[in-house]
Amino acid sequence: MSAALVMRASKRFGDRDALVDARLEVAAGTVHAVVGENGAGKSTLLKIVYGLVRADRGQLAIGQRCDLARHGVAAAQALGVGMVHQHGMLVPTLTLAENAALGHEPVRRGLLDLAAARRDLARAAARLEQSLDPDACAGALSVGEQQRAEIVMVVARAQKLLILDEPTALLAPGEVDRLLALLRRIAGDGCAVVLVSHKLDEVAEVADAITVLRAGRTVAELARGVATREVARAMVGGEPPPTGAPPPLPPADAAVVLMVRGLAVHDLSGAATLRPGAGSAGGLRQVSFEVRAGEVVGIAGVEGNGQRELVQAVVGLVPAAAGRITLGGVDMTHATVAARRAAGLAHVAEDRHHHGLVLDATVADNVMLGRLDEVARGLTIDRTRVRTLAERALADLDVRPADPSLAARALSGGNQQKLVVARELGRAAVRAVVAAQPTRGVDLAAQARIHDRLRAAAAAGAAVLVISADLDELFALCHRVAVLHRGAIAGELAGDALRAADARATLGAWMVGAA
């Protein structure tokens, strides 16, 4: 079998090695998985292939030998390479057809030939048995829809080598299966497929070969059929941390701390402002639930089904269109964020870069943020108290480096997330926790710590609400799991039903509205 890709590459960012002579070989007509912990260098390696990042040293052959120093996106595309990126790469204000055309615009008589772009995209979608509206504004689509559209666009152009960087992170279980089947079909047609994923069972299911990266080096090249445990060991270079179980069930008569009744929230996707009249994902309609002291309740669902609206309404960032929210029995429906926080609400934001941290401020400032009451003496800030608080927060979740004067931006993603969790859960008198995607993009060790901290909060009597797209996370944390679909609760599993063998399938079905 001929090789579609042969490469070695080294790359430094500042004084940090992202890749140290990392190696990757992909045979034509196969599905090849690349795995590794956060920051292992997976994305960097593949961006080098796609020409988006320039390697410092190495060799690259995509069918033919490429000059690494002059390699670029256009050159890679010309060689038949396509890449679906880890973070969506659609321009939200353009239509899907315009996005598809970007970079190779069809032109007629000096003007853009949008009709041709539309036709091309529709044809590509039909070939993959997907339906999409070429005139829809990308930003008005849900994240899942955007990703499907991106896959269609890229697959249409990638003749030789198709790269997908964590394409399944946002998909429901059923959708994942369909995507994997599609990838097999594409490989069957002779195009090599490179797949990055953190879900080792997926990898085991679909991949013909696996390359394992650790700290920028290729540490293993495995063939099909290797046990998942073996792969995990190669990834972390030792035994992977165990996944925990939910904390002990609170007594049945524990007080209801957080209660949501008939909550409705307008759509936040911004579709309306991007293009008036464009289809919108729909916001939140009529959601009711309650969380008791000591209880951990999970909200599962495919991204864009109202999770964001739910979280922001509960913490007070967006107004409720209808319904009621109470905290410890007090009506908080129209209370300010500050009032809710004063009443003991903690919030681990979904998007740490946006709602969680001020990236250019120091770690100490970020700890102070939201805990100003604890450090203020009149108008003055008590700087010794700030330092103590910050050091305590850093120690609490083992944030590294434990330097309060560092800019938050200089922390790795996982450590940033630990910082947010430490700040929020370390406040005095936490009565309720809203944790949105608390471990997204965070590696196994940090994930374990964050989960432990959430369990500890529940054990200490807080009501914990976890919103996550990751079912494994919810199984590891929650007493009850409800599924949000199209802005409403599609179903809920608790107790034995949640532990049953078919729980995953049931939740997955609810997530895609197939129940």
Partner: protein, 299 residues
Amino acid sequence: MMDAVAAVVAFVAALATVTFVEMVVRITVPYLLAALGGAITERAGLVDLALEAKLLFGAFTAAAIAHDTGSIALAIAGAAVAGAAVGAVQALWAIRLGADQIVTGVALNLAAYGLTRYLLQVMYGQGSNSPRIDGIGAKVWSSPLTWLALVLTAVAIVMIARTRLGLRVRAVGERPDATAAAGVSVAGTRLAAVLVGSAIAGVGGAQLSLVVNGFVAEMSSGRGYVALAAVIMGGWRPAWVALVCLGFGAAEAVQVRMQSAGTGLPPELVRLLPYLLALVLLATLRGRGRAPAALGRGA
């Protein structure tokens, strides 16, 4: 009361004349071209606070060339080049050097005020105006700038909406990372947008000096800032921006007519009409448009 209403009706009716339309056109052209140029630059993600500098250098260059060659066409072309030259500095600073775009714009305006005066001194030995030139004068329908402005408006609208460069400009101002991932050069697209936009703004400057047959120091008189306001009020969409500029031009023309008609209102306050109108609109019409997401964020 009825008298007042009748007076207002009569005043408005009196506006519907060819000369009023001509006045609106003359006043609008510099706003229009500066704002269209600004819209293109900003759509590519660069804050364009340097419109004042582009107008002023455009006006100066047009006057200098008209003085030396007597050719209006060359003068206009020179104004475009002068605008583009300011844009080139702006692009170098913002794209290559990663400089703060607001600071760059403020500094370029400062430089324009000083440098045009300085050049007047050096070239003509006088710091406040150029020698008299044979410009275009007050004529409107036979002025090449009137028609050029019309053509450039159409060009700007079509360019943004319907050309390859326009699509790339729209993309790069919104998601430069995604644009790069699509194989488009972010820096190249931005440079092209800034140069085109700045050249258009420079032509707007030519209107200032050619209509009054000479360059006068600081004759842009804050028009570049008003043009930037128009860019924002027009939601960064060229057609809307053009309409807003027309509104500005009309408001200013009404102000002029009100003074001539003798309303009895103090001229100091009548003069503020366009500004008050803009302020009220800004406060009431909660921004219709969205700023390009990558605006001001550097490369």
